[in-house]
Structure formats: structure tokens, C-alpha cells
């Protein structure tokens, strides 16, 4: 009976994820045997970058509102636009516009920012989930939208983005708990270490409008996170839920928030180096785990033991970005080395030839695609972090090769 039920579920999955479509079937077979085309693994970064940017443009064009579709799902195609990730995709588009000297990406970023203004709540908050779900306000999502609004203000100088940013910043400060955590309007109404990714935009806001409440709110939470770090670098409360091992995705958010916050605070407060050091401890633990297994698992336990056989591709590229940033801080070449390898791995999973524009150039949530993180989907944030990681790698490698006289 059990075997019959399993078979029935497998059959249902095959229909649900539309494996009868050749492009879907191809991905399924490739992942089943862990086959990735040889040529893809050795393509230059610029080819992979362009493919991912094309995918992100498709995701923006999938809906007519200017926001970026949350993901391409094998089951239902493109999803509705997602304020949280559209927020942090904005800086990626501005950056890529600068590198490619293509105004199109800048204009797209501005469209995204304008769309964000249209979905901001009256109290300054932004909704969780994509806009199809009419969600309640969320702290984390507001923080990420803030990143985009601040960048739009910096790029255009338009007051409207600044006002929206201040409004969001004030809301974030107003809903913080007394101990520095956020539980109200938080995911599952519980405190999370990965909300360091909210501290960072608050500190960015403090840089442009020296209103101390933003800095104080951020520091209060950063210190709360440090109080939850173990000597081995692990962060308690690092995941979405209490009772499950965190995805690499949220671990990487925590690390990134700490290091970017530390970087912003350090010029005025040398003691803020503790945030960068805390990020480094976790990043080094991940580097060791990745290097000794030659594989980055999608979930870890508090002893940094891998407890997943799949890889969380989003978390991978977030982690390579963190390693590259920390390499800039420390000049420890092992971080650069690890980032190059893990970027190669993710590059080898990117399908550059599919006839399906939802797949071609996108980055899966998990490798294989049925892994637990955003399964059977191509989330827009995976492509965004992939682009960020490759742009950073290119910048650092260009500088290194120039110094060494390598053509």
C-alpha cells in the first residue's frame, strides 16, 4: 500500500511539475545524474553574467507592474512580483548598468523603485511575500526594499525615494523589541539572527540622514545577534523556524548583514570590528566545510555538520559574495580561492541553452532542483546574488591579474 502511495505521489509530481515539457524533463534528467555540460563550467563570467541578467529582465517583464517576478516555477510558470527581492535587485541593476555601460539596466532599476513606492504601506512598511497574496507588513521585507530605495535615491537624487526610505526606517525602529530583536511583524513571529540584513540598510540610511535612531536600532540588533553566536561561529536562531536546521541562505544573510554593518560602522567606531570578526568566524567555518567535502550542503547543524545532500544554490552565491567581501577586508587568499570554486560550481548548474526563458540563465533554488530550498523553482534572488558574486569576482580578479601583470 505504501509503495503504491509513493508511486502515486511520484506520478502526481511528474504532472504537477510538467515534466512532459522537454525543457523541464531535461533539467530533471540532468539533475538526476548530476550532469552539467562541460562547456558551461568553463565559460567566462561575462557569459554567465549576461545570461543571468537576461533572466532577471525576463522576470521583470513577466508582470506589467515594474516589479520582478518572485520566481519561475516548473508547476505554474512565472509568479507575481516580489517587493522584498525587487528591493535588493535594484542595486544589482544599477551596478550592472555601470559595468556594462548599458542605460537599459538603470532604467529598469528605476522602474523597480517606482513600483516599490506603489506597494509601500501607509505606515512605511512593505508586505511579505509576493503582491498576489496581499500580505501583512514584514520587518525583513521592509529592510530589503529599503536597500533599493536608498540606492535609487543615491542614483537619482529624487526626494521621493528618500522620503519613502525614512518612512520605512522609522517603521522598522518603531517595531523593534526592547532587547534588540524583532518578533512583531517577523517571519513566524519569532526573532531571527538573519535580520542583520535589516541592520545593514538601516545603517545605510544613517549614512545619508544622520538620524541616530537608525544607527542605534541597528546596533541593538547586531549586539543581540552576537549574543547568540557560539564560539565556533554558529548563530542560534539562524533559520526561519526554531525546530529546523537553517538553510545556507539564511546563514549567509546573517554573515552578510554583520560584515556590511561592521564595514559601515568601522570608520566612526573601530570597535565595530567585532561584527566583521563575527562574520569571519562563520564564513571560515563554512569555507572549511566546503573545502573538505568539495561540496556545499544546503543545511547545517550547530556543529557545522552538513545535514543535507542537496546544495542551496542561492546560499552558495551569497556565501561566495561574503567570502569575496571578507577577502577585501582581510586579504586572506583562501577566501578568494573558495569563492572561485563555489562560483564555478553554481556556474556549472546554470542552463545557458534551454529554449525555455524561465530556465535559460536562471539559477535554481536547489541543486538538484527537488532539494528542499525553493524546490522546482528558479527564484529571482538566486540570480541576483549570482550576478553580485560574479561581478565582485571579476572586479577582484581583474585587480589581482593587473598587479601580477597577467593578461
Amino acid at each position: 500500500m505504501h509503495a503504491l502511495r509513493t508511486k502515486a505521489k511520484q506520478l502526481r509530481d511528474l504532472v504537477q511539475y510538467r515534466v512532459y515539457r522537454p525543457s523541464h524533463l531535461r533539467i530533471g534528467l540532468q539533475d538526476l545524474f548530476d550532469w552539467r555540460a562541460p562547456a558551461m563550467a568553463v565559460q567566462s563570467n561575462s557569459i554567465h553574467l549576461q545570461a543571468a541578467m537576461n533572466w532577471l529582465c525576463q522576470a521583470q517583464d513577466a508582470n506589467d507592474d515594474g516589479g520582478v517576478s518572485a520566481r519561475y516555477r516548473l508547476s505554474k510558470g512565472w509568479a507575481a512580483s516580489y517587493p522584498e527581492t525587487t528591493g535588493y535587485i535594484i542595486p544589482t541593476f544599477f551596478n550592472y548598468s555601470g559595468i556594462s555601460k548599458d542605460e537599459q539596466y538603470r532604467q529598469r532599476a528605476i522602474r523597480m523603485a517606482d513600483w516599490l513606492l506603489s506597494v509601500q504601506h501607509d505606515d512605511g512598511a512593505f508586505p511579505g511575500h509576493d503582491v498576489s497574496k496581499n500580505s501583512a507588513p514584514r520587518v525583513f521585507n521592509t529592510g530589503q526594499a529599503l536597500l533599493g530605495l536608498i540606492r535609487a535615491f543615491r542614483e537619482t537624487g529624487k526626494e521621493i525615494y528618500l522620503q519613502a526610505s525614512l518612512h520605512a526606517g522609522d517603521w522598522l525602529a518603531s517595531v523593534q523589541d526592547a532587547d534588540g530583536a524583532w518578533t512583531k511583524f517577523a517571519y513566524y513571529n519569532r526573532s531571527h539572527a538573519y535580520y542583520t540584513a535589516v541592520d545593514w540598510p538601516l545603517l545605510e540610511l544613517f549614512v545619508i540622514t544622520p538620524k541616530k535612531v537608525y544607527r542605534d536600532t541597528a546596533i541593538k540588533h547586531l549586539d543581540w545577534v552576537l549574543s547568540h553566536q557560539l564560539p565556533n561561529g554558529w548563530f542560534d536562531r539562524g533559520g526561519f523556524k526554531n525546530d529546523e536546521a537553517p538553510f545556507l541562505h539564511t546563514i549567509a544573510y546573517t554573515v552578510n548583514g554583520l560584515l556590511e554593518s561592521g564595514g559601515l560602522l568601522q570608520p566612526q567606531q573601530p570597535a565595530a570590528n567585532i561584527y566583521v570578526q563575527a562574520a569571519l568566524r562563520a564564513a571560515e567555518a563554512l569555507l572549511h566545510r566546503f573545502e573538505i567535502r568539495d561540496f556545499m550542503a544546503g543545511q547545517f547543524d550547530r556543529n557545522w555538520k552538513a545535514i543535507a545532500t542537496y546544495s542551496c544554490l542561492t546560499g552558495n552565491v551569497q556565501t561566495t559574495f561574503n567570502w569575496l567581501r571578507l577577502y577585501e577586508f582581510t586579504q586572506d587568499p583562501r577566501l578568494l580561492n573558495g569563492a572561485l570554486k563555489l562560483n564555478d560550481y553554481v556556474k556549472s548548474t546554470q542552463d545557458l541553452r534551454s529554449s525555455n526563458p524561465g530556465i535559460r540563465g536562471g539559477i535554481k533554488g536547489s541543486q538538484p532542483i527537488w532539494g528542499r530550498y525553493i524546490h522546482y523553482s528558479y527564484p529571482n534572488w538566486a540570480a541576483k546574488f549570482f550576478v553580485d558574486a560574479l561581478m565582485r569576482e571579476d572586479k577582484l580578479m581583474h585587480a589581482l591579474y593587473q598587479r601580477e601583470g597577467i593578461v
Binding site: 582581510t330 587568499p333 572561485l340
Partner: protein
Amino acid sequence: MNIVVLCKSWNHKKVLEILEALRQQELRVRGIVALAKPSEKNTVSDLVRKMRARGRQRFSANGAASLNGAISANGLVLQATKLSSNGQLRVAQNHQPRMTIAEYAGRHQIEMATAPDLNSAACVAALEKMSTDILLLGGVPIIRANVLAVPKVCTLNVHMALLPKFRGMNVAEWSIYCGAPVGVTVHQVDPGVDTGAILFRETIEVADCPNIAAMRAKMSTEQHLALAKCTRWLVEEKLVPAPQKKEAGKQFYILHPKLKKVVEQRLAKGYKAESFTFARMELPPQ
């Protein structure tokens, strides 16, 4: 003193170099314990696993890293054979040695045993049967405490960099990448990765090596000579082990081809060690 070599049964060249270096030091080897070559199976599940492993190996980070490196796909180290007309080391693929480990052992009356796993009870039993005093590691995976507990004197390994700074993999290349002197270290083995007490260190000049392959070939020979010399001094009780501090060094991993390019470039220009400068903490670029 009963000297035993622990190795892989198919790593003929390396092991023969060690055995020959020991013979030159007039040291008699009591025995060899070798890891048996895994047998090939052909069930359907093995074939699927092999296909997945093949995919993973081809595109794994370290698999890709080895493609451009000095290590060829079958694990053989490219070897410098002789000087070319312009005085530079000429590099060629190392061919199979003229003799296998088993043949060498037979010719020199060295006892030989194989084990399916070098950390297994079978391996421990073989080492105990040989009454091992000094165990020499000849290119083996990580050895666990149960095996390390067998030798009455100690277990020795030779490492292709100057410890304690550079532990782990591809350390000769990493030394160059970090602008540090290149050398070899003979050390006692403990359960950590290259963290055992240091017995001997020697800097090696690599300015005459035009590339990584030539450097590794030169260092390979030098390191086996160093291991043999140290074994002799240990037998003669002329060595005092110097413990390492854990924080005195870092563990390095397989070097990515893009960074290997930097090492190749520096060797091509005639590498001379600079000061060791990595691992500083400073403000991020604004």
C-alpha cells in the same frame, strides 16, 4: 628500530623514491603496509553511482582545479626529467616506474601487507605484527588515532611547505602565492592536519623552476631525501621535536586554476620569496 612505510599500493613512484632514499641512508625497512586498490563492481546501482560521481568529479570545484594543475587526471605528478639546452628544467609526463612496490619489496626482503582501509583493524594488526617503531607516511589519506597509536617511537610525514604557516593542500603553490619561502618540513603526525611536532625544515630554492610542474618535481625529490635523513637522525636520537601552536598556521586547500595562474606567472619570472603578508584586518575600502 623497525621502520614501516604506509602507502597506497598503486603509488609506485613515490614509494619507491622513499624506499630508495632510505636505502641511501643505510636504513633497513622492516615492512610496507599498502592500501589495496578498490575492486570494480558492476551492479546497476554502482553504474548509476559511478555516473553521478563522474558528473560531480568533472564539475566539482576541486575536480576543475586539478585540470589545469600539475597533477594529472590519474594522480601522477608531472616530473622534471632533465635540463634542456637553455638550462631550464624540462618537464615531461612521468611514466610508469620500472618496478612495482611489491617487486621492490620482494627484491629487498621487505615484508609486505595490504589493507582495504588504512584506518582499519586489519591495518593496525599488520603494523603490530611488524612490531613498528617508526611509521613513515608515503602519500596516504588522513590517518586516525588508532593507527597512530601503534608505532612505539612515532609516525613521520613530510610536508611540501614550511610548517607551521602552511598546512593542508597545494601548500608549495600557496607559499608562492603568499610570497613566502618554499620548503619542506618533516613532522610527527598527530590526529590534526599537519599539526604534529616539527622535526626538520628546509628551504628550497625554486628560482630555477619555470613552472609548477618543475617545482613540484624538484620538491618531490627533496622531500623524500629529507624524510630519509630525518628518519636516520631519529634512529640516532639526534632530533628534538618542536611542538606547533595551532594558531601559528592556517589550513590551505586545493588552489583554483585562476590563482594557479598567479603562481605560474611568478615562477616564470624566477620566484624569490617576499615577506609573508596575508591575513590582516583593516577597514574595508570605502
